[in-house]
Subunit: 156 residues, 2 copies
DNA sequence: AGGCTGGGTTTGCTCGACGCAAGTCAGGAG
DNA sequence: CTCCTGACTTGCGTCGAGCAAACCCAGCCT
């Protein structure tokens, strides 16, 4: 049923998980708003208003969470210039943020499979072949797709 | 940088994500305690006290969260009998709960890579080959490993 | 009968997450 | 100079997450 625990780990009642990476990861992206902001970043949203409207959170929460994500190094805040407008800032994923792609896609995939009666509203496919992709646990040497190699389609 | 949005999705400022599977998934496993309880279930913990002590939460939180996870169908509460003791209950992962393995492992992997200065404390390997595994986004047809096919080792 | 033990539930509190509403500020447009 | 817009900030109230500690309860042991 569960994973095999080797060596000292086998004694579940003695060993205690310390410095667990999952716990540390959840300290950074453990809130619903943080995850949904990341979802939007993967979808290509970069501007403050876009995040607010599309995630459906208030400006206050968006400002706070975005600041935290920038401080944690998942997003980068950088100036951009639209012609005839003043300098504004946009939020773009860093390498560290992009590395969360499997987490986000795995969540969507699980929701699609177990929480959506007739399948989810969106489908993530390979940008090249158009075939749907899966998140999975694989032995080393298997190649992974990057965000750029993926496309999002409407289901049905 | 981001994923390619096809068709109507391309107009990020018009389209709004409704019924998003990620949001629904987070309604079920969006709290830190829920994720850590799942981690423990994958490690093989089944009893109430084990969850409490190893996750480091209070009994109150554990009771509440476990009940929610049972109601959501991720865990199954079933009686078991130790010789010379009365009937007790244990919590075991259902198929639906086991399907969250990629999410949990992906979080650990990300934490290992970006939040742990010298690498994480644990390593997940293939039970057969002993080689470390990765969570990744792959085209269809790639085989995935189940919890039983994995083993946990102490790093270094 | 009374106590012990594993497996919880209840109560009372704090703190963070989040929503609503209003205010602020910079700078280009008019 | 005033207005507007994008990007926040501030204040306030609510709700859920979490802790601590006490309580409950079934049943085996003596």
């Amino acid at each position: 049923m569960a994973m095999r625990m080797n060596g000292p780990l086998a004694a579940l009642d003695q060993w205690q998980p310390e410095g667990c990476s999952i716990a540390k990861a959840l300290d950074v992206v453990g809130t619903k708003s943080a995850m949904l902001l990341l979802r939007e970043a993967f979808y290509g949203t970069t501007r403050f208003d876009g995040f607010v409207r599309r995630v459906g959170i208030t400006e206050a929460v968006a400002a706070k969470r975005l600041k935290e994500l920038v401080e944690a190094g998942l997003l980068e805040k950088r100036p951009y210039q639209e012609p005839g407008a003043r300098t504004r800032y946009e939020y773009v994923l860093t390498e560290k943020g992009r590395a969360l792609l499997p987490v986000v896609v795995a969540l969507m995939q699980w929701g699609d499979a177990y929480l959506q009666p007739g399948g989810g509203p969106l489908r993530i496919v390979s940008a090249e072949t158009g075939e749907p992709v899966r998140v999975l646990v694989a032995p080393p040497g298997t190649a992974s797709l990057e965000p750029e190699g993926l496309a999002v389609r409407i289901n049905r």
